[in-house]
């Protein structure tokens, strides 16, 4: 038996820490010209965003984020479809040409997006909402 409340809240905190890590390496890159961890963090973010759209649910390896209902719900609460596309595009821009003039503005936009995600994850950690009866009804209807 598992204490579900803690497990679900932990999902939000994991997401907040994930976003914090992405923001931290982007700030190091923008403010201090450091890019030691940039590739690893942005690639993880990119594969997680792509994984969020995948229909495969159980096959390993798992992405670093957006693998659970709670994390996916948080993402959908704070980023619209176009934000996701924008984030993926900008991550690729920074990854491909970190020294180009467009890379730093893209990194700043990513800092804003991931900061919003971190805020929302922290909010949901504080105020976790159970799965609404409406969502469960929809699942029961569709399954």
């Amino acid at each position: 038996m598992t204490p579900i409340d803690l497990q679900d809240r932990a999902q939000y905190l994991s997401l907040a820490l994930f976003a914090q890590e992405v923001v931290s390496v982007l700030i190091e890159y923008v403010d201090e010209e450091k890019s030691d961890n940039l590739d690893a963090a942005l690639n993880k973010a990119l594969s997680s965003l792509k994984g969020a759209e995948s229909s495969s649910v159980s096959s390993p390896p798992r992405a670093a984020a957006f693998t659970s209902y709670e994390q996916l719900r948080t993402l959908e609460e704070v980023w619209k479809r176009r934000d996701r596309d924008k984030a993926k595009r900008m991550i690729l821009e920074v990854l491909r040409q970190p020294r180009s003039s467009k890379a730093k503005p893209a990194a700043n936009s990513l800092i804003d997006l991931f900061s919003k995600l971190q805020d929302q994850a922290l909010w949901n950690f504080e105020q976790p909402r159970p799965v609404s009866p409406g969502v469960m009804q929809r699942l029961c209807k569709l399954a």
């Binding site: 038996m1 598992t2 204490p3 579900i4 803690l6 497990q7 932990a10 999902q11 905190l13 994991s14 907040a16 820490l17 994930f18 914090q20 890590e21 923001v23 931290s24 700030i27 403010d31 961890n37 969020a52 759209e53 229909s55 495969s56 649910v57 159980s58 096959s59 390993p60 390896p61 693998t67 659970s68 209902y69 996916l72 719900r73 959908e76 800092i111 900061s115 971190q118 805020d119 922290l122 950690f125 799965v131 009866p133 969502v135 469960m136 009804q137 929809r138 699942l139 029961c140 569709l142 399954a143």
Partner: protein, 475 residues
């Protein structure tokens, strides 16, 4: 409401206070009580993280005055995130501190850890025990804490690493020193094993098959493909059911039918055996009738335990049989709680893979059943006359034999022993029965402790002190 640097300083002070308390509290606990090694490691980790969070805060406060407001907001957000991580550790620290060796069934926990390390892929694992105020057994999911610890480790590299292969099990504080219902820790340990398997970088073949079976089952629901959130929700339900069946089977492999009897007792305590509840799948658990059907299937056909307990006929065994005979057509769900359509693919496609997985990682259960058949009479003879079970010749009996014999004795012969020692009237007294149950549990626990000490002595004689220590932590 404060903003900018003032707000950050306010939040930093709050976080500092929490981190400082955690650092000092963990240091003090490790000094003042005796704990299992795993709990000690957890205290050291928490102390180190709290210390390094304080250091990081000092650094951030120093530079905040020179940063633009957007970066100060980031520092504030980060402080809040670290505070929440410490809050998660905080929820573990006090229950771990309460579970010092005098308040838990230490020999049973140690035995369970030894069994845990015999499972494929679990060498070197340890379990920290927590005492919960709820009358319920839990395994604290540790995967997220470990993932969070990894991220925190990258953000604060000066902090100690999270102790490797560490699991957390919670016992109700009222049941701490007891024995029989505490066999539930074998099920909870299964959650730890499952989490370790599911996060392994090189998952074993049976686990991959199980994941593929789950994927196949969920893909049948084509309408769900269009909604990622609903898909994750369905996956979460299936994952919960999978873990419950996995944990039950693993516990049966390790400790035999005593686990089934303990689970019946716990379900009775929780009121889960009513006509309605026994056939109902919930979001977190498969129906008790199905779970017990799996128990009977394993005990009958997966090993020799069923024949070993053929002449033991407590009500708990009758209930197991009664539940196992309930047709799966009667399995149901509460309206709008769980999609009933998930049950059939779970039973047909996923459960066979769970059985294969457990068979692949657990030690063969048949030798334990055979030892039980050989040693039961000797153990019972001791319990009948009120002494700690021991062998008249040779080494002490096998711990699994002791556990199963004592549990069968408790279920079938407790009134006899009360009557023998206290008279006919006492056998009908709840207080006396409770008192003698406690005695029986104490003798059982002592017998297990004796058996462990004897095994330790034999290993020492055979392998020398260093090897013996290694075998206890890296079996």
């Amino acid at each position: 409401m404060q903003t900018g640097i003032a707000a950050f300083l306010h939040d930093a002070a709050v976080l500092y206070t929490l981190a400082d308390f955690i650092e000092k509290y963990c240091k003090e606990q490790a000094r003042s009580q005796r704990y299992t090694d795993a709990s000690g490691d957890f205290f050291r980790y928490s102390q180190s993280v709290a210390h390094e969070v304080k250091e990081r805060l000092g650094h951030d406060v120093d530079r905040a005055g020179n940063l633009p407001s957007s970066r100060v907001d980031t520092l504030r957000r980060n402080a809040l995130t670290f505070k929440n991580y410490l809050r998660v550790l905080h929820t573990f620290i006090k229950p771990v501190a309460d579970a010092h060796t005098l308040s838990i069934p230490a020999p049973l926990v140690e035995l369970a850890c030894e069994h845990l390390r015999q499972i494929q892929g679990m060498s070197g694992s340890r379990v920290a025990v927590l005492l919960t105020p709820l009358l319920m057994y839990f395994q604290r999911p540790h995967t997220h804490v470990k993932q969070q610890a990894e991220t925190v480790g990258r953000l604060i590299p000066e902090a100690e690493e999270f102790p490797p292969r560490l699991g957390f099990i919670e016992l109700p504080y009222s049941q701490g020193p007891g024995f029989f219902t505490n066999l539930a820790i074998y099920h909870e340990m299964g959650h730890f094993v499952y989490e370790e398997l599911s996060t392994s970088t090189s998952p074993i073949a049976q686990f991959v098959s199980l994941a593929q079976a789950t994927d196949r089952s969920l893909r049948r629901f084509t309408k769900l493909q269009k909604d990622a959130q609903l898909q994750r929700l369905a996956e979460k339900i299936i994952e919960s059911w999978t873990q419950e069946v996995f944990c039950d089977l693993l516990a049966l492999y390790l400790v035999g039918p005593a686990f089934s009897f303990a689970l019946v007792e716990i379900f009775a305590l929780l009121g889960s055996l009513s006509r309605e509840k026994r056939v109902t799948f919930s979001q977190e658990h498969p129906a008790p009738a199905f779970r017990f059907a799996e128990h009977v299937e394993f005990l009958r056909n997966g090993c020799k335990w069923w024949s070993a307990i053929a002449d033991v006929k407590p009500d708990q065994k009758k209930l197991l049989l009664e539940f196992s005979e309930i047709s799966r057509r009667q399995y149901t769900v509460y309206e709008d709680d769980v999609p009933k359509a998930l049950i059939a693919p779970f039973l047909d496609t996923i459960v066979p893979r769970i059985r294969e997985l457990v068979r692949g990682i657990a030690p063969d259960a048949t030798p334990a059943a055979e030892r039980f058949s050989n040693e039961r009479e000797t153990i019972e003879d001791c319990l009948k006359v009120g002494v700690v079970p021991h062998s008249r010749v040779g080494g002490p009996p096998d711990p699994v034999s002791i556990i199963n014999t004592a549990f069968c004795f408790y279920l079938t012969s407790l009134p006899d022993i009360v009557e023998r020692f206290e008279g006919t009237k006492a056998a009908a007294s709840a207080e006396k029965r409770s008192e003698w149950t406690r005695k029986l549990e104490d003798w059982t626990m002592k017998a297990i402790e004796d058996s462990q000490i004897q095994s330790q002595f034999e290993r020492m004689q055979r392998d020398g002190p260093q090897q013996e220590r290694n075998s206890r932590t890296h079996t």
